[in-house]
Every structure is written in C-alpha cells, then in structure tokens.
Amino acid sequence: MEREINKEHIFDYLGNKTSPIQRKAVEDWLLDRENEELYYQWLEEWERNHLQYIPDTKKALDTFFSQTIVYTEPDTEQSNILNSQENRLWRTFRWASAAVVLLTLTSGWFWRESIMYKSYRTGYGEVAEYRLPDGSDIKLNANSYLRIPRWGFGEQTREVFLSGEAAFNVKHLENHQRFVVKTIEDFEVEVLGTEFIMTARKYGSRVILTTGKVNLRYQANEEKRELEMMPGDLVTLSKNQEMKIRKTDTPENFTEWEESRFYFEETQLEEIGYMLQENYGLEVEFSGPEVSGRMLMGSFKGQTVDDLLVSIAEVLDISVARKGDKVLFSDK
C-alpha cells in the first residue's frame, strides 16, 4: 500500500529526522516521477528556511552578465569555443545534463576551484584553449578534463592530471621544473618543454610527440617501464594490449580535431564509436561485427558531428541513423 506523503514528511526527510521506515516510505514515493515536481517545490521551501549561508546574489548576477553575456540576447554573442558547433548540437544535449557539461565562458569562469586544484573542462563538442600559470599552453579536446595543483604550480611541481585529450605546448622553465601528465591508467608522461598530444580515454591512451623529448612511464605485467619518445613517435596503449610504438610522418594530422577535422589512421569503426561517445556524448551501436570491424583511414572534415557521421558512412558505404544521442551504423 502506498503511503500518503505530505510536506511534513518531506521536511523531516530533508532534515534527517525520519525513522528508517518513514524514510523508506518517502523513497518509495520518490520513485514515482510524477511526484518529483512536488518534491522540488518542497525542497525549495525547506532549503529557503535552512539556508547554509547567504551568497551574494547581486554580485553573482552582475558577474554573470558582465563576464558572459555582456547583455546580449542568447545566441547572438560570439562564444570562445573554437570548434563552435551548431545550436542543434547544444539542443540535443540540453537534457544530457548528466555528463560534465559545457561551459562556454571567458577565462576564470570555468575554473572549478576546489581548495587543492584548479580544473579545466570542456563539454561535448567543445574545444578550448588555455594558458597555464607556468606559461604552457594547452588545447583541450571535447569532453576532457585537466586538473592542476592550485598552488605552487611551476615552483614546486608541475604535475597535472588528464582525462580526455589535449595538445600540450609545455614551456621550458628556468628552474627546469619537470612537467608530468598523469592519467587514470598507470601511465604518465614527463617532459621539460615540448609539444605533444596526449589522449587518455576509456578505450585507451595515446601520446604523439611533435617536437622535443618525452619520457613515458607505464606499467606492464606488474612492472614499471620507461620509454623515451622521439619526435614523430606515436605510442598507443589499449586495454589488454601491449603497448605499441610506431613512427608517424605526419604528427600534425593528429591535431586535426583542433580545426574540426578528424584524422583516422587505420582505425576500426568501433574505436571511432568510442571517440564519438567521448567527444560528443553519442551512444554508438553497430548492426554487427562486420560493421564495427570496418577500417577507416583518412581525414574527415566535419563542422558538426552530423557531417562527420555522414562522411564516415559515405566512405564505408554503410548506413547511419541518428536519433537523439543514439547512433546506429548498419549495412546498406
């Protein structure tokens, strides 16, 4: 039997004053999506009566308008997204608030500052450029996250954490401070000053060195290994696979995402699926292994993700269908 839940119950629940039985009843009630509107209404009221502190709303609003919109109507301003996507794309993802979401503001605005770290993030389909406090430049590809220490960056340490993909142009400091990029994997890169591109995605990691010298440290068979990369080297680390190193004559191809081109070098469609998932939040499916195993080579231009999907399908002579954030590749 469903219990009737009223405001008092919710207030007790929010104030952590319920017995486990009552709490269960509230939680059951909350399972019904129909009740959510009402819940948020009560939550608002409760929160208003139990404010944790009083933020400076006026200042926040002033900052908001002065920093971001400069009092224009939405959509008319130039955002600083380099890879500016069509509105359609934003709309598609509006409700995908699930993921780390796009911020298209100027400078300091999207630095999530916790106490220890400063973070840089990009949303789906967004590419952004930053200068780090030590003078190094980075360009973050879509859906990527870079975290640097809040204090002492360039003085005591230059250790950063990357999830996603970024192009680094690391400045060589007078004190020869090492620049270390760590990832989720047991895999890190150490440099003094150089240019390289690094990817640390769920489907695997990759480092491409453009100029200079890079030390790569990784774990293999419970063993720590180290490797020195030379310009033009391309190193890939995939799940359950040995590390691969090879030469590429055209490292610049790998930076094509910076100008909304996509370059694939003998890449399986399945892997491109992961890329689409990572960069654009798309859920990609294939009608079968004969499709997902197809190989793709070459450079693709795509101002929007739809353009890219269509050109992939054209090249491989397969069909592609997109519905919301679901994409299906299948045989014709």
């Binding site: 609003l61 971001t68 934003w90 500052e113």
Partner: protein, 215 residues
C-alpha cells in the same frame, strides 16, 4: 537593467510559502497549477524580455540553489560556480523556451547533477571510473532516483560531522570559507604543516567514506 522596477522575488516567495500549507494534504500531484502559481510571473516576464525574465529567475533561485549545492560540495566558491554554470546553460540553450517542467525542477535537478559530478570527480577513486568504462552505456552514470542524491548528501554530512573537531574546523575554514592555509594557521595558532595534515586527513576520510556511494 529594469531600472525603477522592483524585483518581486521576495514577495512571491513569501506568498508561495504562506499558501503552501493548505496544499500540503492534497493527494494528487499539483504540478501544473503549482508551477503556474509560483512561476508564472517569471514565465510571463521571459516572454516579454528574456533578460528581464532571467534576472527575476536568478533572484528567485540563486540563494537556495547555492545553499543546496554547498551541502554536497562543502565549498561556497564551488557551489556558486556550479550554480552559475547551470544558470549559464539555462540561458545559452534558451531552456526557458523549452522546458516542460517548472524552472525550479530544471534548476534543482541540474544543480544536483553538477554537484554530484563534481564530488565524483574529486573523490572517486580513478580505478573505479576506469572499470565502469566497459559498461557501454555508462558514459555518464547518474543516479536514477532522487533519493540517491539525498543519500550522497547525507553521507557527506555524516562524514564531515564525524571528523575530529579540530580537523573539521580546519576543513570548513579551508573549504567552505575558502581561506588560505596561512590564514587558517594564524587564526587557529597552529602551523601550516598541521593545517595540511588536517586537510589531508579530512579529504582522505571523505574519499573513503564516499567510496561505495558512486553510481
């Protein structure tokens, strides 16, 4: 900027609060009436001028959202950033033209999502994030149910509560108030090193305490 006009935000708030009790016992969800009741002013303002509507909306919800977000992240600065991000997205995507729900619903849900993600990024053990990678649809795992957010929130609260007094004090000064280590050290008459130790300990406790709460 709407010079010469008063924001009616405060009036609306007290108005809706005083009306609320007689609704309390209504059984059916009162969504439609409800949202028009307390948000129609904002809605109609949006249709006249997005800018003016937005200002009204901001005044109405900014404080509560910040206060709510800080319960998750325990940092005023972060909470305010998250809330600003949500408002910004609301503006840039013209959500005010499109949402079927109340603005309140959109804003609270988004802020809770953002706060959850923030915590997760900060405290989740990264190996775990990696394991979930192979769950194909698990690109961005979010709690499905309202109650799961409440659970995380409660856990955060308990964890902060469970810190030893001095450690909690340092943690709150640093994180919630955003004070520098040196300032905290001066204020509490302890060394910067001790401050660091307290912070490290608090963060570690948080990380371990939240370990089993990530979706």
């Amino acid at each position: 900027m709407l010079k010469g006009e008063d924001y009616t935000g405060e009036h609306m708030i007290s108005g809706s609060a005083s009306k609320a009790p007689d609704r309390m016992d209504r059984k059916e969800p009162v969504m439609c009436n409800e949202k028009e009741d307390s948000e129609w002013v904002i809605r109609s303002r949006f249709s006249e001028s997005p800018k003016a509507g937005f200002e009204l909306l901001f005044h109405r919800y900014h404080k509560v959202l910040c206060s709510h977000a800080v319960r998750f992240v325990y940092s005023r600065e972060v909470a305010e950033d998250l809330v600003s991000d949500v408002f910004c997205r609301f503006w840039k995507t013209r959500a005010y033209e499109a949402v079927n729900s109340s603005y309140r619903y959109y804003l609270f849900r988004s802020v809770r999502n953002e706060a959850y993600n923030y915590l997760k990024l900060e405290f989740q053990k990264f190996e775990k994030l990696d394991e979930s990678a192979y769950n194909i649809s698990g690109l961005s795992n979010q709690p499905d149910y309202v109650a799961q957010y409440e659970e995380v929130l409660r856990q955060v609260e308990n964890l902060v509560e469970s810190l030893p007094p001095q450690c909690r004090k340092v943690f709150l000064l640093s994180r919630f108030e955003g004070k520098k280590y040196q300032e905290i050290a001066d204020e509490l008459d302890i060394s910067v090193k001790t401050v660091e130790v307290h912070i490290g300990k608090a963060l570690d406790l948080m990380r371990r305490g939240l370990k089993n709460h990530w979706i």
